[in-house]
């Protein structure tokens, strides 16, 4: 014991991980002779330095009905899927995947279960989310299996069954040793688990770093700490860990060839461990998808040669050129695919991204869109339109959380009333509410932010006539806005349609600019033939603030949703986060 009869509590896995990392840093500094800075040497490991491997195993599920199922694991910009089970209501997959977790990286894993369909897209039947950081704070010595409720995608309050998942955060010692074991196996020709000098030399050559013979012999002696003339697995693990920090002997990943040492040294080992896993087939989940929706495409899509998804060109392929629109969820740090009907995408492309479409726009489509929106406005204000609410909720299952809505569904007498629904006061907390120097987001939306107009036109707005002057018009434009910064908040149909004030200040004026009602979908915004933001109907308000100077707030109407209402008036002092107005169906 410790003298007083009470055992000290075991340190958490997270604290052990951190202290091990801290040790590594100290060792590194001592060797480099850079430990002179006392404040530096007394500092713990910064939170953003943490990185490790989480081993996630999707074991089985217990579902309400019988079918063939598969499960997807999504983390950040990666999604993996299991094999498809036999037809049963208790599928067993027992599929494992190792993923990297970093403090500043994605840590909320989503697990989705799909039923398979022979000809159409597979159907999502349930999902759950796991915060991997929570596991770090638990003191779990062994891998353990947890049963998680699978939420119904159309209602967050009902469950579709349970899924058994095991998550385990690998200790860095374990990672180092398992890595050394694998590396050793490459050149351990007599399979005795130890390396002779000749095997050790072959290994060094395999790392492709061109070390001289005498340097290799020196490293061998350094590794052979007990001086028995061979290097065993523990000795090799220690050498690789130490040496990779001091003078890397592995300059490129032996599996994928990627150059190492760009980031933290421990990340190199994690990278190589994961690469080895992919190569040896130990990982029994298929990867290469960006979102669970992509992983769930039907067989026809998978047969196609172009059925691959690259994280690298995700942005380039999004917007106008993509067959699907991807957005990055800030909360979960995960890519998600926007729900949009394929036929609508095709028709929008035809209209907004071709010269033929441009001709159509010039020859009366503007009036058609305006009339359509006015007609739709009348329809959505009629009592009959209320019956469309449940269908709308079903269409956007999992994307509208009715628990956050202030009033119950039955209270909405028309669809438009539902469309402009208010949220409970606690549903959207305002960040740094008392600090006027921090601006906040104005809407539940898909956001783009650019420090200058030039950047916005380089990366996003492709309409050739776009300019700040054109957007604001003569009555609301000030010289200070020239090449100013701009942020675009795009609302999708399923979103909460009220917009809020992003900064605190005084509303100076409102300027209404009549115009067209083109769609504000990226397909149109990214088109060089269409100038959505400078031609659509809009209302501009100027807010005067002490911290940001003048801020122009431009509410832009779109096809069908062309009615803009403000709830504040000129001269009002507004606090950031205050409700400012809403969009509704109409012209």
């Amino acid at each position: 014991g410790n003298g007083n009869g009470v055992e000290p509590p075991l340190p958490s896995r997270f604290s052990r991980f951190r202290s091990r990392l801290r040790l590594r840093r100290h060792r590194g500094r001592d060797r480099c002779g850079a430990a002179g800075d006392a404040s530096e040497s007394g500092k713990g490991v910064a939170a953003d330095e943490f990185a490790g491997i989480a081993r996630i195993r999707i074991v089985k599920a217990d579902l309400r009905f019988k079918d063939k199922f598969f499960a997807c694991l999504s983390l950040g910009e990666r999604t993996y899927r299991t094999e498809t089970s036999d037809s049963t209501h208790r599928p067993v997959w027992n599929s494992e995947k190792k993923v990297v977790i970093e403090t500043n990286g994605p840590h909320i894993a989503r697990i989705s279960v799909f039923e398979t369909n022979r000809f159409s897209k597979n159907t999502l039947v349930g999902y759950c989310e796991v915060d991997l950081f929570d596991l770090l704070t638990k003191d779990l010595e062994e891998e353990h299996v947890e049963d998680l409720a699978l939420l119904d995608p159309s209602s967050s309050t009902t469950t579709m069954g349970t899924i058994s998942v095991s998550c385990y955060i690998e200790d860095p010692v374990e990672t180092e040793q398992s890595f050394a074991r694998r590396v050793l196996a490459i050149v351990d020709y007599n399979e005795d688990g130890k390396l002779s000098l000749s095997e050790f030399s072959d290994l060094m050559k395999a790392f492709g770093n061109g070390l001289a013979v005498n340097k290799i012999e020196e490293l061998f002696r350094q590794a052979d700490t007990n001086g028995d003339g061979i290097v065993d697995m523990d000795e090799l693990a220690a050498l690789l860990a130490d040496q990779q920090e001091k003078e890397p002997i592995i300059s490129n990943c032996p599996v994928c060839g990627e150059s190492l040492g760009k980031y933290d040294k421990i990340n190199d080992m994690i990278h190589m461990t994961l690469c080895f896993d992919e190569g040896t087939g130990n990982q029994i989940m298929t990867g290469g998808f960006l979102t669970d929706k992509q992983a769930a495409y039907g067989w026809m899509f998978k047969l196609s040669e172009w059925a691959n998804f690259s994280s690298y060109d995700v942005g380039l392929r999004s917007g106008s050129t993509a067959s699907h629109i991807l957005v990055f969820d800030r909360r979960t740090k995960r890519l998600v695919e926007e729900a949009i009907d394929g036929k609508i995408v095709l028709s929008m492309r035809a209209l907004y991204q071709s010269k033929v479409g441009l001709t159509l726009i010039d020859s009366g489509v503007k009036d058609i869109l305006k009339n359509l929106s006015e007609k739709q406005g009348k329809k959505m204000n009629s009592p009959e339109s209320a019956k469309d609410i449940p269908k709308f909720l079903e269409l956007f299952a999992g994307q509208i959380n009715m628990d956050e809505t202030k009033d119950p569904i039955e209270s909405f007498k028309t669809f438009n009333e539902f469309f402009i629904r208010q949220l409970k006061p606690s549903a959207r907390p305002i960040a740094h509410i008392d600090d006027g120097s921090i601006a906040t987001c104005a809407a539940d939306c898909r956001l783009m932010a650019y420090s200058s107009v030039d950047e916005s036109t380089r990366f996003w707005i492709k309409g050739r006539k776009f300019s700040i002057e054109g957007l604001l018009g003569a009555d609301a434009h000030y010289n200070a806005f020239k090449n100013g910064s701009l942020v675009i908040f795009r609302l999708a149909p399923q979103d909460y349609h009220r917009f809020h004030v992003p900064v605190s200040g005084t509303v100076e004026k409102f300027v209404e600019i009549p115009g067209c009602l083109y769609t504000v979908n990226p397909i149109a915004v990214n088109s060089k033939y269409c100038n959505v933001f400078t031609e659509n109907k809009r209302v501009i308000s100027i807010i005067s603030t002490p911290e940001f100077g003048k801020v122009a707030f431009v509410a832009i109407g779109a096809t069908m949703v062309g009615s803009i209402t403000f709830v504040k008036k000129e001269g009002d002092y507004v606090h950031k986060g205050d409700e400012f107005g809403y969009f509704s169906f109409g012209g």
Binding site: A439, C441, A442, L486, A552, F583
Partner: protein, 56 residues
């Protein structure tokens, strides 16, 4: 529908994650009230105030 906010030149420093995604032409899903960015002017003011304090 869409809202665009235009800030004066050099008035705001947008959050790094929002800028990074936008430079990949990738929209970021956000909610009302989450942080957007910080005033550059105010930060500058605070720095000069601090410097003034230390000199005195």
């Amino acid at each position: 529908s869409t809202v665009i906010c235009v800030f004066e030149k050099d008035a705001i420093q947008f959050d790094a994650d929002l800028l990074a995604n936008s430079e990949r032409s990738l929209e970021t899903l956000v909610e009302v009230g989450t942080t957007l960015g910080v005033s550059k002017r105010n930060r500058g003011l605070k720095v000069s105030e601090l410097q003034k304090c230390s000199i005195e």
